[in-house]
Symmetry: C2
Subunit: 339 residues, 2 copies
């Protein structure tokens, strides 16, 4: 049988109220009683029933995280950030991934209702706006990497995709590359679009040169980066540099280039986005835009906890985390800048 608070109370010769006081450190209890209770609890291997506590406290101490179906280092870092922050604050993390369309997200949203005190939602699909009416009310929510104005008055937190991509493109230009190709993520993805926009802006400003055939659409996987690059190499004209919208695609590009016997960065430069841990260990080490994935997760939880403490604020907060350019040798900068 399960051991409940009554068992402990009986065993310790006190009432359930006193046991409850001990376990929640609420209200005064004589040292004597406390000891007897703790001893009895230990002996019985008692653990409070969380469902009952949730029911009466109206707090589950759990935070829900809805993530898209994406693999890889970036997402695993976001998860780590969420987990660590939640744990430190004594909260649990209820995750639900693998959502690639609105219906799936809505199903998961429904299933989480009532189980969590707050919600972190990452839905980089540009259709995100359509979720707005179905967002649960009454609990704080923070949207990660979503179009900030699309989901109604909800808090958002994002990586500076535009700024990061623009900085990288400028860097490529600065190093001397004029003719630059871009490997984008799926165009239904908000991050992909923003990075493309940053690329375009910098290129226009800096007088670089691009080409429709040099805008290749991938899906953030190594395979798509590889395929796209092979397509690119079949073109008559070749760019001097390839900017991949994430590191996974950059890895695919590197593979295709290596296979074709094209030397990086001598014959062609390559740059990525995200700066996953292994970027530094690729051959050649990959120049990338550092995206603070771990921090993104941590801050999201921070926001939620904040909202849980403080009275709700009526104006949503939109915050963008800065990115940082990490120059390594894949873009040819090293050749120009001797140590």
């Amino acid at each position: 049988m399960r051991v409940t608070i009554r068992d402990v109370a009986r065993e310790a010769g006190v009432s359930v109220a006193t046991v409850s006081r001990v376990f929640n450190d609420s209200g005064p209890v004589s040292e004597q009683a406390r000891l007897r209770i703790l001893e009895a609890a230990q002996r019985l291997r008692y653990a409070p029933n969380e469902a009952a506590r949730t029911l009466i406290n109206r707090r589950s101490q759990a935070i829900g995280a809805l993530l898209p179906d994406l693999h890889g280092e970036f997402f695993s870092e976001v998860m780590r950030g969420l987990d660590r922050a939640a744990q430190r604050a004594g909260h649990h993390l209820l995750v639900s991934g693998s959502h690639d369309d609105r219906a799936a997200v809505e199903g998961a949203l429904r299933a989480m209702r009532g189980r969590v005190d707050g919600l972190v939602l990452m839905f980089p699909d540009v259709e995100a706006a359509a979720l707005a009416p179905n967002l649960p009310t009454g609990i704080p929510i923070v949207l990660l990497n979503c179009p900030s104005d699309a989901c109604g008055p909800v808090d958002t937190l994002a990586i500076d995709n535009f700024g990061g991509a623009r900085a990288m493109t400028r860097h490529l230009l600065d190093v001397g590359h004029r003719r630059i190709a871009i490997l984008t993520g799926t165009l239904r993805n908000h991050d992909a679009l923003e990075r493309l926009r940053g690329f375009g802006a910098a290129l226009r400003d800096g007088g670089g040169e691009t080409h429709d055939r040099w805008r290749l659409v991938g899906d953030f996987t190594e395979a798509s980066g590889y395929d796209a690059t092979r397509r690119l190499l079949r073109e008559r004209e070749r760019p001097e540099a390839i900017f991949a919208s994430n590191d996974s695609m950059a890895i695919g590009a590197l593979a295709a280039l290596h296979e074709a016997g094209i030397e990086v960065p001598l014959e062609m430069a390559v740059a990525g986005f995200d700066d996953i841990p292994m970027a530094r260990y690729l051959s050649p080490p990959l120049t990338s835009v550092h995206a603070p994935a771990f921090e993104l997760g941590g801050r999201a939880i921070g926001r939620l906890l904040d909202a849980l403490e403080r009275p709700p604020r009526r104006t949503p907060r939109h915050e963008t985390l800065p990115t940082r350019l990490v120059v390594r040798s894949s873009c040819g900068a090293a050749a120009l800048q001797p140590p």
Copy 2:
């Protein structure tokens, strides 16, 4: 205020029992009543309180997953496997990562007690056995990649680390490499130990040659693979091949070799373990042991659900998932086997 089952009942002019019957599809309800109830629920945006349901049903529809603090593709694939399987079965996933010692695991274990219907525990630390007495009773548990006999009568599920490492080592031997170095994970890690054991066994059987200085201890990160390989290159004698105990370390090794101007596989062969998605896109493509991470997660959930349905079996099940050798060009096999 929150809307409860009573509000719906009142609105629809029925009793709470009838509303409950509609929502759980338990017991007969007239079509007329059902419609009125559904309509009222919709209008009120009613959603059953999960805490109350859990309390009375003694089922939370949640499964807890305790994972060690490891990043990278392998773990993110295990997570995906867990999530997908749980979701398909209508269960939630309560994850808690970042546990690198026993105390941390025990804390998390305590916190999950009463919140989950089953538990997946991955604690590859060799000390895993010490957890046994603190494992919660009353709910099914499955241990992932743990020493199978160490944790008492608990179900286990593991990757065939020994067999995989042995097969890879044999392959290296078959291809003609005699003098082989190994990069291990931390020696407190059960997976690392098993892989090392498989390596040793194959080497002994196959007449290969190794050396204490060629057994380098890393920690499964790219950085440790890189550092270890640099140390290796400073030795007077060099091996013909390096077997890294996971792909991340292999990537670090590749980087160190590249930096030192040593060509892979011509001058030195490299092999990894895990076969993460990008292994195929490294330069050169990495020969590795495919470890079914996604499947591992899926099966773990399957086991739990099984135990939840069926009457508990007294004899624990120990299952080992087979690995598969994936030969690419980093080990020099391609040179010997023309297409």
